[in-house]
């Protein structure tokens, strides 16, 4: 088998296709799954919904006025299409049933009728005008970013979102949560055991309800697109340019979405979580978050186990997307960390390398001294490496590191 095929169809670790399906069958899942699936189909067909609470067949109504208007537009046009479909397909199937040679029907020979042709040009045009009026209204509403109460800057990056509250300096990154991250990278792990698999983040975006929030969107690398269906829209985040959008959420709650512009290998793994809070709770959150942001990192010594465990978290958040969970990298694109001279050489040069970045790798000077110690200890003593050293936060911290 050609090498590319093996690489591409990398049956993760040693599992083969056959083994996988065999195990699947042996566990008896296949029978239950089929039944479950069948029941699901019937329930869904009846519009009763399944066990998954947030599952819909139709577009969701959402929690903003705009999303409700869009829902209404969607339903209006859907019903118009259904009506036209019933008319056209009804006529066609009537004809198919009755006007067939086997029933002895003799073909008529007419082949034009100007009146009819004018009618079926003009009526659709009028229907379209009828659609365009509400659509224009909603479009204008969606576009009206004036008079906002606060502004949040959203920056898409491979592969997380960066949120900056321009009114109060809150600034944080929002990554896929660790449970989903581990599960999608582990053979045989069960996605169903992870709550909100692939739709959960470590730090959600928090906003107050009933306030007009203006978003400015941009990107730090490639094009991303920020979409939370409950808010009713998505907007592209273009590198070097700024887009604007707004929302005003009616109901407190947690709303989930995903990146919707293909942005590379981990495009499917950069979700969005928005938590809308009542104003007093939001104010409390702002206070707490600002305080946390002012806290200096704890530079006290850690045991080797602690360093390795924390280091793994830092690795999962910042490195794993490119260098992979085994440290093997991607042949031809991304260097391996396993056995890498840079990773296993002097730690000072690794430290300098990480802070400076390269043309292919972003610089990681955003990490603090504590994280540097943890990450480097992990990379040098795991992922197939065994340098045997351990680095403490005090060694790796720069003088200005603690005013993070």
């Amino acid at each position: 088998m050609p090498a590319f095929f093996l690489r591409g169809l990398k049956l993760r670790n040693d599992i083969t296709l056959i083994k996988k399906f065999y195990n699947y069958y042996r566990r008896g899942c296949s029978v239950n799954k089929t039944k479950q699936l069948f029941a699901g189909v019937i329930l869904m067909a009846l519009g009763l919904g399944t066990a998954q609470a947030d599952y819909t067949l139709n577009l969701m109504k959402g929690v903003t006025k705009v999303s409700n208007d869009i829902y209404d537009l969607h339903m209006l046009i859907l019903w118009i299409c259904v009506a036209i479909g019933v008319g056209v397909f009804g006529t066609m199937f009537y004809s198919i049933y009755h006007h067939r040679k086997s029933k002895g029907h003799i073909a008529a020979q007419f082949h034009e009728n100007t009146t009819v042709e004018i009618i079926w040009t003009i009526i659709p045009t009028l229907i379209l005008v009828g659609m365009a009026i509400p659509a224009t209204k909603t479009m204008l509403e969606l576009n009206d970013i004036e008079k906002s109460d606060m502004t949040i800057q959203i920056t898409g990056r491979q592969w997380y979102w960066d949120y900056k509250y321009l009114d109060n300096d809150i600034h944080f990154e929002s990554h896929l949560d660790e449970a989903s991250e581990r599960t999608h990278r582990t053979v045989g792990a069960d996605p169903r055991a992870v709550p909100h698999y692939l739709l959960n983040v470590d730090k959600p975006l928090v906003i107050p309800v009933k306030k007009k929030i203006r978003f400015v969107l941009t990107s730090g690398d490639v094009i991303h697109s920020w979409w939370v269906p409950a808010l009713g829209w998505k907007k592209d985040a273009n590198p070097g340019f700024i887009n604007e959008a707004w929302t005003s959420v009616d109901k407190a709650g947690t709303y989930r979405g995903q990146c919707t512009e293909l942005c590379g290998r981990d495009h499917g793994f950069m979700p969005i979580v928005v938590i809308a809070m009542e104003q007093p709770e939001y104010d409390a959150w702002v206070k707490k978050t600002l305080e946390q942001q002012k806290q200096k990192p704890d530079l006290s010594d850690q045991s080797r186990e602690q360093l390795m465990a924390h280091g793994e978290s830092v690795y999962l958040k910042n490195c794993v997307s490119c260098h992979q969970i085994t440290g093997a990298g991607v042949p031809g694109l991304i260097p391996a960390l396993t056995g890498s001279v840079i990773a296993t050489g002097k730690w000072e040069s690794l430290d300098g390398f990480l802070r400076a970045g390269t043309s292919k790798m972003p610089k990681f000077d955003k990490l603090n001294g504590k994280e540097f110690a943890e990450l480097m200890t992990y990379v040098r003593n795991n992922l197939g490496n065994n340098v045997g050293d351990e680095l403490q936060p005090k060694q790796t911290a720069l003088p200005d590191d603690d005013d993070e």
């Binding site: 067949l57 040679k101 008529a108 479009m139 576009n143 590198p239 340019f241 499917g268």
Partner: protein, 546 residues
């Protein structure tokens, strides 16, 4: 109608050889429109299975949540290559193959106007597709930026390895090949029609291809230009699409879709032509509204140039742009509606029979209309803010491509194979192929509407568990659909090798000769035809006018 054969005898002394060259060389050096048509069609069929295999990889990975089989980057390569192979390797060449076979037969021409260029455009296509396919074997893999090749992702060293220049050069070759094919078709239609055939006497298939050929000439250079700019941005430090150098990545999107929107109509207009050819024959009625069909095709082609940014509603355009592109896009529903109404009116009060080509054509009208409905829904810009880049659009364009373009290509195969080979295909297996395809294609794509509306983005290798059920159903549909196409392969081979053994008449289908010229020739069609042009044009609307 044996004029052709007689003609052959008269000139036998003047030319040393009227038959095909012997052996493999025949297929390499041929300038015969029928041979080149066959090459195009067989190549397209092979690529249909290559692209289909990629689709099977995609559906296998999406069968369950979690990553089972492929790496996310390879998954992205599969979606990218599936699209490129299907668009440039399967659908477009298949229609060029049909054009090569049918246009000279239908207009009474002895061959295409530029036979040597015809040969060259086929072999450049093969070179282009092989160049593209070669990237699959390279370190770093095939392009994985989506078939739109958007910068900056396609220029990023950690995403696309060595593949970019190969993909760009491949696009150049495919573009040149398409343009040469289009020039040839236009030259043939304008210059080689039977003397008595006026433009408004031409079969609809010829009309739709004429219009398509103009679209090709207009937009392939635009795409070639766009990818060349990618190439210079990557290797010669230009900044067309790099904001840091004063460029704009959105500029690429505009250029790409100025090509991309007409491109999707390049794949659908000839489809309309074939449907308009098949339906009247099995309804035993003239096509309803011939003139309005021509004008609708031309209007759709015109509109295709001025609606491109509806692929970009969420990119951040000024409100005036959003509204303009919304209104212009909605307008496309009018001529498209006219076509659907005309096909329905053609069936109305006919005396229909339901052989395999007719079944595929009816399924095309119904399922293409469903794709049209979702297209109309997405033309509404504010709603598109929800639908864009989700499985809803995946469902939409697959409805307009698979049960539309692909079904019509199948229909064309069943319809003309007996003419080309002189053998009848096996109707039972044909019907089985139809029903399996028609049912499974809906199991495959219909649930994708639900997935998109429920919030599943496209181009993701893994998904949240609430999308699991419909994905599994969709994958099952996909596997059945994929397997069913092997029946078509069997039928093609079987028919070429003798089929049912039943000798077909020149007309093949009842009274087909009243509809179009090719049915006045014997079956199988002789290697050389219309060496003297036909004197009478038997399209029934023309007969009626006389």
């Amino acid at each position: 109608m044996s004029a052709v054969i007689d003609e052959h005898d008269h000139h036998a002394d003047d030319h040393h050889d009227h038959g095909p060259a012997k052996g493999l060389l025949r297929w390499i050096v041929t300038t015969n429109h029928k041979d080149i048509g066959t090459l195009y069609l067989l190549f397209a069929l092979a690529m249909f299975f290559v692209g289909g295999t990629m689709a099977m990889v995609i559906r296998a990975e999406l069968f369950e949540p979690g990553l089972q089989f492929v790496d996310p980057a390879f998954f992205n390569s599969m979606t990218t290559m599936h699209a490129l192979v299907m668009v440039f390797g399967a659908v477009m060449p298949a229609f060029v193959g049909l054009a090569n076979w049918q246009i000279p037969l239908m207009i009474g021409a002895a061959d295409m106007a530029l036979p040597r260029m015809n040969n060259m455009s086929f072999w450049m296509l093969v070179a282009g597709v092989l160049l593209l396919a070669s990237t699959l074997f390279m370190e770093g893999g095939a392009p994985n930026s989506g078939w739109t090749l958007y910068p900056p992702i396609v220029l990023q060293p950690i995403t696309v390895g060595k593949a970019l220049p190969f993909a760009v050069f491949s696009v150049h070759l495919l573009g040149i090949s398409s343009i040469m094919g289009a020039i040839n078709i236009i030259a043939t239609i304008f210059n080689m029609r039977a003397p008595s055939m006026k433009m408004m006497d031409m079969p609809l298939f010829v009309w739709t291809w004429l219009i398509t050929a103009f679209l090709l000439i207009a937009v392939m250079p635009v795409f070639a230009g766009a990818v060349t700019m990618l190439l210079t941005d990557k290797f010669f430090h230009t900044s067309f699409f790099n904001a840091a150098g004063g460029g704009d990545p959105v500029l690429y999107e505009h250029i790409f879709w100025f090509f991309g929107h007409p491109e999707v109509y390049i794949m659908i207009l000839p489809t309309f032509g074939v449907a308009s050819t098949i339906i009247p024959i099995f309804a035993r009625k003239p096509l309803f509204g011939y003139a309005s069909m021509v004008w609708a095709t031309a209007s759709i082609a015109f509109l295709s140039f001025i609606v491109w940014a509806h692929h970009m509603f969420t990119v951040g355009m000024p409100i005036a742009g959003e509204l303009y592109f919304m209104y212009a896009t909605m307008l496309i529903a009018v001529p498209t509606g006219v076509k659907v109404f005309n096909w329905t009116a053609t069936m109305w009060k006919g005396a229909m029979t339901f052989e395999t080509p007719m079944l595929f054509s009816i399924a095309f009208v119904v399922l293409f209309t469903m794709g049209g409905f979702t297209g109309l829904m997405m033309s509404i810009a504010p709603s598109d803010f929800q639908y864009h880049d989700t499985y809803f659009i995946v469902a939409h364009f697959h409805y307009t491509l698979v049960p539309a373009s692909i079904f019509i290509l199948m229909a064309a195969g069943y319809f003309w194979l007996p003419k080309w080979t002189g053998h009848m295909y096996n109707e039972k297996i044909g019907q089985l192929h139809f029903w399996l395809s028609a049912i499974s294609v809906n199991i495959l794509f219909f649930p994708q509407h639900f997935l998109g509306l429920a919030g599943m983005p496209r181009r993701i290798p893994d998904y949240a568990v609430q999308f699991a059920d419909w994905n599994m159903i969709s994958s099952i549909g996909g596997f059945i659909f994929g397997a069913s196409q092997l029946l078509f392969l069997y039928i093609v081979i079987d028919t070429i090798r003798g089929g049912t053994g039943e000798k077909v008449t020149g007309e093949v289908w009842e009274n087909a000769a009243q509809h179009s010229l090719e049915w006045t020739l014997p079956s199988p069609v002789p290697y050389h035809t219309w060496t003297t042009p036909p004197t009478m044009v038997p399209t029934e609307h023309v007969l009626d006018a006389h």
